[in-house]
Symmetry: C2
Subunit: 294 residues, 2 copies
């Protein structure tokens, strides 16, 4: 991985953390709830979704500060989903990225409410963003709600839980990922390009790019669960195999999964070239997603 | 209570249930999630918030269909909050209005996700409402998110939980209720009047009205926990006294609580008169709130 993209990622990370830090008003939120929201917002996230949003916007426009708050709202939704996913009734995880999960650090009711609060706040942040027109706000809110609600991420989470007790075929597995992680990744790409005023043709190519990017993200996740470094990942590996969970390697074998990833990378590259973004950071991020080690 | 207002409430209830029934697309949501969302949406809610929104709009404008979807979004947020409040980690209730709570009918993870889905969907519904301008949508989303998020309902829920283990004074108790139930009731009033294009002066009187209406709602809730009919309420009474929970009667005595309610009713009536809505259904609803038996 080139030094170039790593610098871009690091800069994006700092930017989004600065924006997030200034968005939530300590004085108007009960202390315990505020602490719990902030704890998870700053629990070491990779900030990939905001960085994708920045890169998508910057492939077509300057002045990336226009998308800062939208990116923050997106990261808050991602964070809420992790808090709820970790709950005892869901994945029942005590640690995430080497830190206590929200309900272990605080308690279960606080974690549920901190998730609810982050989700709700994200829409308020977009609706209050003074840099956007009303038309832009409405487009973003509609897209983000659709991507994260019952027809998107939450729907994918239900299917994922159901999939743990049945075996899925490749098509069903792709549906789960398309909803659970794909739709928010797609939102990042679409929101950036929309705010940069791209035309419909480019948008259609970007939608295709985003689809494959989401799948690459997931197949790499599955591969890392087999041959990743637990130190770098901040979590144990091999849990998917033990659980006989439907994953790419369990369905296609490890080599098959890697080949599938290459097919996705090829298709994503093609779409990005057609979207005239072949020289953008999006292209570097595509390879970063495919090769990431954590 | 006059027959008049009861008819209005019954008609509003039918309207909102019809609207809700057509808003959620069965085909694009995983079956179990869809069933769980619909179960709680149609679990016998009184629909008071949508009815207040209708009445607020109709105090100043005709053609109430303009606010139908906003009212549905509001009811979905209220429903999500009940699902999450009932969870084992929160109030741990098995029954609500004589029916199994969501996590008892389905399971805990489904209940958490159904709540998340309803919350998220509510913002999508407003953003997609073809009857509203973008400016109106943004105003509604910003207000609704603020009313239901960490500076509103979710914040109130945290304070309410914390209040169970400490004793609150009257001012602290009012703060809890203002956030936990008051802000959504206020949203109902404000949203209706805003969509009816009322001027700022009227809006200010309505905000005061809404504040007292919320408090009346709560003090009556506390009174019903002492002298209500468990049959009509669909839940046992006396639990607040047993729990030594901070309530109006526990703080002021039963008679004191009733006197406090009368003071609130007087103030609400005054504000409503100044808002030139003294001949509206809002006035009837004010008394209905104060005298309701369930």
């Amino acid at each position: 991985m080139s030094n170039h993209i790593e610098q871009y990622i690091e800069k994006g990370k700092q930017t989004i953390e600065h924006v997030l830090n200034n968005l939530i008003n300590r004085d108007s939120i009960p202390k315990n709830l505020y602490d719990s929201m902030i704890y998870s917002l700053f629990a070491g996230g990779k900030r990939l979704r905001p960085i994708l949003l920045f890169a998508s916007y910057e492939a077509y426009e300057m002045n990336v500060s226009k998308v800062h708050k939208t990116a923050a709202a997106l990261e808050m939704i991602h964070t809420y989903s992790l808090i709820h996913d970790d709950l005892p009734a869901m994945d029942d995880d005590d640690f995430r990225r080497g830190k206590l999960t929200n309900h272990k650090k605080f308690d279960e009711s606080t974690a549920i409410l901190a998730g609810d609060a982050l989700l709700t706040k994200s829409f308020e942040i977009i609706a209050s963003d003074e840099q956007l027109t009303n038309k832009e706000k409405v487009f973003l809110i509609q897209s983000l709600a659709n991507a994260s609600g019952p027809e998107g991420m939450v729907g994918g989470q239900i299917l994922d839980i159901e999939g743990e007790s049945t075996s899925l075929n490749l098509k069903q597995l792709e549906t789960v990922h398309k909803l659970k992680t794909g739709k928010l990744i797609k939102f990042a790409i679409i929101a950036g390009a929309y705010l940069a005023n791209t035309d419909e043709e480019i948008m259609n190519h970007l939608k295709k790019f985003a689809k494959y990017l989401g799948l690459i993200f997931q197949v790499q996740d599955d591969i890392l669960d087999i041959e990743g470094d637990p130190e770098k990942l901040g979590k144990p590996v091999g849990s998917d195999v033990d659980n006989q969970k439907s994953t790419y390697p369990n369905l296609l074998g490890l080599d098959g999964a890697k080949k599938q990833k290459e097919i996705y990378i090829e298709k994503a590259t093609e779409a990005l070239t057609l979207a005239k973004a072949n020289n953008s950071y999006l292209m570097d991020l595509l390879h970063y997603f495919g090769e990431r080690e954590y």
